[in-house]
Amino acid sequence: MCVSSTATRTRSITRDDHRRLVRRKGRPIFESELVIPSQGIRTTLQFLADTGSDRTLLLPSATIKLGIDFSRLPLRRGKTGGVGGSVLTARAPAELRFHGANTYVYRIEIAVAAPGSRRSPVDALLGRDILERWYLHYDRRIPLLRAENVSADEVFALPDDAS
């Protein structure tokens, strides 16, 4: 039996283009679809744009949420250092898909942190393996951070009824 929860109904909000920043406490957050074929994962996540991160990293709580079998990730394992210390990571081939006027697909090796319940306000860090493939314009006025594609692996026109 499920425990009690708080259910709410609130107003609809018009769609934001994927290139536009989603702000929470001023943090530059993008929403994207993540596909990890080796784990049968297709999910939607929030990514914190982090120019200090060498590569895109799935944080420990997201590894748990998605039920990723860390021991079976196909690529090398090791420690990834950061300003908050180090974390055990593995890598997996992945696709990030940003949906907007077009769908932009980037193929990367995502770093996946070992599962853990470290408290985090976001799911993942968007590292320079993606950010260096964008033109970024940063401004405190809205939109705070705007990204334009420079070198996606693929660009698809967005299907008509999804826009």
């Binding site: 769609r15 297709r42 306000p121 799911d123 009824d161």
Partner: protein
Amino acid sequence: MTKPLTPELREELKEGARQVKAYGDAIRRFDAKYPDAHIHFPDKWVAIHNDDILTADTLDDVLAELDCRKIPRERTHVRFIDSDPDAFYYPG
């Protein structure tokens, strides 16, 4: 290597775009409704899916609640809300 835009891939992209929109809209509704979420949900893990909001003290508990209600984890936003609104977050 560029993938051909097959009908299957086209449908997958359409569904993906819909899912990202629904995911983001749900988060924005939550953030608009609870700009002071740290007061409503201090030190809680919160799961947001469409108009459903589930809370628990631990990540495991909120995920168990999602599973119990058959709410798809992969389309649900989960975050920890610190009771201190000025808590400094550093990735790593």
